[in-house]
């Protein structure tokens, strides 16, 4: 491959014929996918970028909460439904199971993948169902979105988190679909890594939200 020199900076660099899509290729196959050109490395980078965007979104909500609480005297502590703790256990369990599945796949212990991933998917779904129950219990207890700012921020943050969970669950279901059909190829494995990484991120985000409302809000 002709090397890039100082002289042709700013222009059109040569394209390596060995890398037909111009990139570093897929981590598994050494090639980009001919379907849409995306690569494993690019997918993982995109996942990190998405996480940065989520951190900024929640950072904005958190700073809004800090300012809103500091500016007024109408803040009341929100009694958290007990089911949130069970939901937390379900989320962490799902994270552990999905990661175990990913590790088994990496070690070529393919037969362990499906049961572990399915179990992780079930616990992840349970978390989401549990969140709906928690919102229902809060509403029954008279804590609405339009009520005290503490409940307003609780709903906003948990809804935003749940929206992320729904997106992640779609990816996890997609992997489940591929895995059950035994079509977990190179792209499928990229989905496994990316969705597991994001699922761990959702754990951290949830623990942060929970800690915020338990200890501070």
């Amino acid at each position: 491959m002709p090397s890039l020199t100082q002289s042709n900076i700013g222009g059109t660099p040569p394209i390596d014929p060995e890398l037909p899509f111009g990139g570093r290729g897929d981590g598994d196959s050494g090639r980009g996918s001919p379907n849409d050109g995306s690569t494993r490395a690019a997918s993982m980078t995109a996942m990190v970028v998405v996480m940065c965007a989520s951190v900024m979104t929640f950072g904005a909500l958190l700073s809004a909460m800090v300012i809103r609480r500091g500016l007024s005297h109408d803040w009341h502590k929100l009694p958290l439904p007990k089911i949130l703790w069970y939901n937390t256990v379900a989320l962490i369990l799902s994270s552990i199971l999905l990661d175990l599945a990913r590790r088994m796949l990496r070690k070529n212990k393919r037969r362990y993948f499906n049961p572990l991933w399915t179990a992780g998917t079930v616990f992840g779904t349970l978390f989401l169902v549990g969140q709906f129950v928690a919102w229902e219990q809060l509403a029954v207890g008279g804590f609405y979105l339009a009520g005290n700012p503490s409940s307003a921020f609780f709903y906003v943050m948990t809804w935003a988190h749940a929206a992320h969970v729904v997106g992640a669950l779609l990816a996890v279901y997609y992997v489940e679909f591929l895995a059950l059909k035994y079509e977990l190829g190179t792209r499928g494995r990229t989905w496994v890594s990316a969705s597991t990484l994001f699922w761990h991120f959702l754990d951290l985000m949830w623990l942060g939200i929970l800690a915020l409302f338990v200890f501070w809000a």
């Binding site: 690019a42 940065c52 007024s72």
Partner: protein, 528 residues
């Protein structure tokens, strides 16, 4: 036809931005006319807005709704989309030694999302009550309370917020693509520091988008809840509007300003940084040498972006900011002058070292025009960055002059430079050079004729955002100046017909561009 090909996506963004800029310019002409001839009856106004311009004279509310649409269309759909999404999509893979963006289908999706946002925005002005009145900054509490605050503040304002929220998602999808493309699809033989300056600017712009648009999205969602679900994030206690007492309690309008400007100031750099990259490319190409202090240019871009994230408070000097905070924001704002000066002097040094070899093609003229306008607009920023001066200038035409020059005209000159330079890559044809040069010289002169006198109107205390200031005695001496501005603005808009004719004629009848249309030397760091 492969719609997700990066060049096709670039074209789609180009057309969306072109349509948006035409809409924005037409709106500005209507507003400029109304400002200086507020009681003149215009049949066209009555035809367009039968209920809000009865007798051909527009109401102040109609003026404010046009102001809102103009600002929103220009900031989001022209200055945000054209520099990064149109030219970035066109050139980034090519400059990085790749043939595609990292996620082509996601790339196309981000365009459709942006288009949906555009339609939501257009929908916001087509509601029964008309468009929202709150300007592109949509300050609460008036923007958060609903229809009680005026016509267009009901469904129109709600649709406006939805439009912005959807736009944020489109911008985020786009920034994911640019960042992943630069990091992972770049040729393995290209270290980051050897990446072309334009690519560096698109990369840093994408990072700025990534860090700022989520904050606007969060703020937009909170204000939508205030409007639709009865929450009180931004609406204070005991607000009385006409005979209506707001039931909201405890919210803070200042909170919106913090969140909005945390996005809003980086947005200025999202608009201008890609233009700087395009200018660096074009100046290098037509001066026949590498940009002087190339490494310093990269670090200056990084510094501008970093400082740009830390200076949102200078938009709030008159909002009741703690004076100590104001000093901190002021110092940081002034500090942006340093990397900006580094860039400017490096461009000038490049030109100086290449003297004798300069080729004054149309893109080169627009790049030179960019440097001039960037300096002019930057200098007025030094005034506004000081809290004591801003206290006087903040609500005057001085600010209108400043941001139109630095954010509007400078960025548009960058877009024009990119359009002329890369037109052969966009559409395979060359725009006419003679028409291009005539278009440049007239645009350059008339841009200054339109926006420079606004500084003087600002000195005289001429307030901005007013639909009619002709009845104020103290502004009577300024009215002839304002009329001059309006005439210059109409002339400036008329001159753009030359560009449109050039564009349409070239696409219709133009012959195919040669392989190296600008005759640049590919071995001399100036390749096309």
């Amino acid at each position: 036809m492969n719609l997700s090909h990066h060049r096709t996506v670039a074209r789609l963004y180009f057309w969306l931005s072109l349509g948006s800029v035409l809409l924005g310019v037409l709106l500005s002409l209507v507003m400029r006319f109304h400002l200086v001839y507020p009681s003149t009856s215009v049949k066209l106004f009555q035809f367009l807005w039968p209920t809000r311009a009865q007798g051909g004279v527009m109401t102040p509310e109609l003026y404010l709704s046009l102001l809102t649409l103009h600002g929103t269309v220009m900031v989001f759909f022209v200055l945000t989309l054209a520099p990064v999404n149109a030219f970035g999509n066109l050139m980034l893979p090519r400059q990085l030694g790749a043939t595609h963006m990292a996620f082509p289908r996601l790339n196309l999706l981000s365009f459709w999302v942006s288009l949906a946002s555009f339609f939501l925005l257009v929908g916001s002005v087509l509601t029964e009550d008309g468009g929202p009145l709150s300007g592109w900054t949509a300050y609460p509490p008036l923007s958060a309370l609903g229809a009680i605050t005026g016509p267009g503040e009901g469904l129109g304002q709600t649709l406006w917020f939805f439009s912005i929220a959807v736009f944020c998602i489109g911008a985020l999808l786009s920034s994911i693509n640019v960042i992943a493309t630069v990091i992972d699809v770049r040729s393995p033989d290209m270290p980051l520091m050897q990446m072309p300056l334009a690519a560096w600017n698109w990369f840093i712009t994408a990072i700025l988008s990534l860090l700022s648009f989520p904050v606007l999205l969060a703020a937009g969602l909170l204000i939508l809840l205030d409007r639709l679900a009865g929450t009180s994030f931004f609406i204070p206690t005991g607000l009385l509007i006409a005979d209506y007492k707001s039931p909201h309690t405890g919210g803070s309008p200042l909170l919106w300003q913090h969140l909005f400007w945390f996005f809003g100031h980086p947005e200025v750099y999202i608009a201008i940084l890609p233009g700087m990259g395009i200018v660096s490319t074009v100046l290098s190409a037509f001066s026949g040498r590498r940009i002087f202090g190339r490494r310093a240019m990269i670090f200056a871009t990084m510094s501008i972006a970093l400082l740009g994230l830390l200076v949102w408070g200078h938009h709030m000097f008159t909002s009741g900011l703690n004076p100590w905070s104001a000093i901190a924001f002021s110092v940081l704002t002034m500090a942006i002058g340093v990397p900006s000066a580094v860039k400017t002097f490096n461009w000038l040094a490049t030109l100086w070292l290449a003297r004798g070899n300069l080729r004054l093609t149309t893109p080169m003229l627009f790049a030179l025009g960019f440097v001039s306008i960037f300096v002019t607009g930057g200098l007025s920023g030094l005034f506004l960055g000081q809290p004591n001066l801003d206290a006087y200038f903040h609500d005057t035409y001085f600010v209108v002059a400043h941001f139109h020059i630095i954010m509007g005209v400078a960025a548009l000159f960058g877009i024009f430079a990119g359009t002329f330079y890369w037109f052969p890559l966009l559409f395979g044809k060359m725009l006419n050079e003679t028409l291009g040069k005539v278009h440049f010289y007239l645009t350059f002169i008339l841009s200054y004729a339109t926006f420079l006198p606004m500084h003087f109107a600002g000195f005289a205390g001429n307030p901005r955002r007013y639909a009619d200031f002709t009845s104020f005695d103290f502004l009577a001496p300024i009215i002839p100046l304002q009329k001059g501005i309006t005439h210059a603005a109409f002339a400036l808009a008329a001159v753009q017909v030359i560009f449109l004719f050039n564009l349409v004629w070239t696409l219709w009848r133009g012959s195919a561009a040669p392989e190296n249309p600008w005759g640049t030397n590919p071995d001399n760091g100036e390749a096309y």
